[in-house]
Amino acid sequence: MVQQTDRPATRAVPVRKRRFRWRPRSTFGRHGLAVLVALVAVVLVLELTSPFRNSQLATMSYYAIAAAGLTVLTGLNGQISLGHGALMAVGAYTTGLLLGPEGDGALTLPLIMLIAAAVTALVGAVVGAAAARLHGPYLAGATLALAVAVPGLAIYFDHTLGGEQGLRIASPEVPGWFDATIYFLFAHETPSAKYLAYLGWGTLLLVLLLLANLMAGRVGRVWRAVRDDEVAAELAGIRLGQVRVLAFVVSAACAGLAGAVLGVVVRLAAPSGFTIVLSLSLLTAVVVGGLGSLTGALLGSALLVFLPPAVTNLGIGAGLDGTQAAQLAPFVYGVVLILVMLLAPTGAVGVLKKVSGRRRRTR
């Protein structure tokens, strides 16, 4: 397990009284405030950037949702999963089936996304129950098998799931109230792609808020306790199996939501979209960002979105053809995974913390 030393909870609190507190006292209040600030930032960024950036940001939102779920599982609870790509597939296919080919399903999109998350959580409960007894390489192997197996199901049930070609997913319409609000604020219409970016980021912020609270509270402490010392945790009365399954369920629900957002953004759920490389990219995101940190998951998923075009361009500049240059991104992921593990196992967030900690001490 990657070492992670939590800061001691008691920091020197300034004793001056009646000072204006810009940070609310309660954890939920603090997280809620951060999410509100982030929401304003997201609205500004989405309104000020080009449609192309909007679609990139929509992509980033679903990577980040899945990575946030994975960082909870791997970073906080110490269970590795190479099957999150497959869990995203479950979410995407569920969304596609419920939304109907023409978008004429009876349910609204938020409800469909909730159902997709619930279905994936159920799958996660089954996988988690089997995985709860496994460690390190065994768990990695079992979830790798899951990642290889699930796309085969889509081909086997090709009547309902569309086989190799995949399931086309209708693009949802922009709701009237949403269009009206944006028009009121910025005086322009909302195209469907921009609405999807809003949808993805709204979901992401909600997920981050819930996960941050979960991590700061009792559940998060129990997860960390199980990760750091199983025997001690068990002696303290923690039921290891239940705790592990719960972590898997929460993580799977995030993956399912991510799959749902992916489905409506990409408008297709196909076996070729949920390869092992997707699962390993998510792992790269959480490892590079810093295992167990939601900020790290965000940073890592930004890397997954903005790095590939950059290295692909470099590759084309160096004389590779298009399909070869497209493979440069996974190559970089692999190399980065190795380098991070060898040089800075705590990831970007860990390095930043170390640097800022040193500066604070010297001051």
Binding site: M1, V2, Q3, T74, G78, I80, L82, A130, R133, L134, H135, G136, P137, Y138, A140, G141, A142, L144, A145, L146, V148, A149, V150, G152, L153, I155, Y156, T275, I276, V277, L280, L283, T284, V287, G315, L320, T323, Q324, Q327, L328, A329, P330, F331, Y333, G334, V335, V336, L337, I338, M341, L342, P345
Partner: protein, 292 residues
């Protein structure tokens, strides 16, 4: 009946390859307690090297020799450069490093050799033998595959049983501290172990490729089947890896023949979960209680 016979024979041929692959995983696990998830990608890479040579006009056997030597070098280099720093550390770190190797090698192969499907020649005839007037799914090539795997296994047994080097390697895997005190260069033995495992993995990659198509991801499923085979036999037991490989080969062949080839990976997952829940130490492990 004829289909049953054909499916069984195909399964035996596949099983022999999975056995070799599982053996490579077991070799590494015994010495370094690391499951090498990059094994498949390494085998794929050396197979592409062989294919490049063969397409340039060399014989199959020259390609085979180059692939095996390349595997030896690749295994040793990888152990020295990227595995040594995470050996004995947290188990998750080693897993992540091998996964990084897996992605990087697969992408590198796509960059260097292209991601199109290319056919790989088989050294022997691919048409089934005829017994009486029935054509069975057993070819000269399947005999070659089985013979090659058996020869490699006998070679490994001979190495570990009858040579000084093998004894030192077993000692290094069994207890690093004690062997170091007795003058065994443990680091070298571990490097050699990875190199040998990579040779066996390369052979498995070549045998799977023979007479079919190769593309950068063609070993993705095999790493899973090999892992399932190794776990079935017990990750610590070379003999178990062989039996596990043959069993998995047969079972998956029945699934593919009677239910549908799309379900093979799912069946492998089901077998893996069943084994891990019922007998996590595998069928042949000596130690009774092993944390998995």
């Amino acid at each position: 009946m004829q289909q049953f016979l054909n499916v069984t024979l195909t399964g035996l041929g596949q099983g022999a390859i999975y056995a070799a692959f599982a053996l490579a995983l077991v070799l590494i696990w015994r010495s370094t307690r690391i499951v090498n998830f990059a094994q498949g990608a390494m085998g794929m890479f050396t197979t592409y090297l062989a294919l490049t040579l063969i397409e340039a006009g060399q014989s199959y056997w020259a390609g085979l020799a180059v692939a095996l030597v390349a595997g030896l070098v690749l295994g040793a280099v990888i152990e020295r450069l990227v595995i040594r720093p995470v050996e004995g550390g947290p188990e998750l770190n080693a897993v992540i490093v091998t996964l990084g190797l897996f992605v990087a090698l697969q992408a590198l192969a796509a960059i260097l050799f292209g991601s199109t499907f290319r056919s790989f020649p088989a050294p022997f005839d691919l048409r089934g033998f005829t017994v009486g007037d029935v054509n069975i799914a057993f070819t000269a090539n399947s005999i070659y595959v089985i013979v090659a795997v058996v020869v490699v296994m006998l070679g490994l047994v001979a190495l570990f049983r009858f040579t000084d080097l093998g004894l030192k390697m077993r000692a290094a895997a069994f207890s690093q501290e004690v062997s170091r005190l007795l003058g065994v260069r443990v680091g070298r033995m571990l490097t050699l172990g990875w190199a040998l495992a990579a040779v066996v993995g390369s052979l498995a990659g070549l045998l799977i490729a023979g007479g079919s198509l190769v593309f950068p991801a063609y070993m993705e499923a095999v790493i899973v089947y090999g892992f399932v085979a190794a776990v079935l036999g017990g990750l610590d037991s070379p003999g178990g890896a062989v039996v596990g490989g043959l069993t998995i080969g047969l079972l998956l062949s029945y699934v593919s023949g009677y239910l549908g080839s799309e379900l093979v990976a799912l069946a492998a997952l089901a077998i893996l979960v069943a084994v891990l829940l019922v007998r996590p130490q595998g069928l042949f492990a000596r130690t009774a209680a092993r944390r998995v």
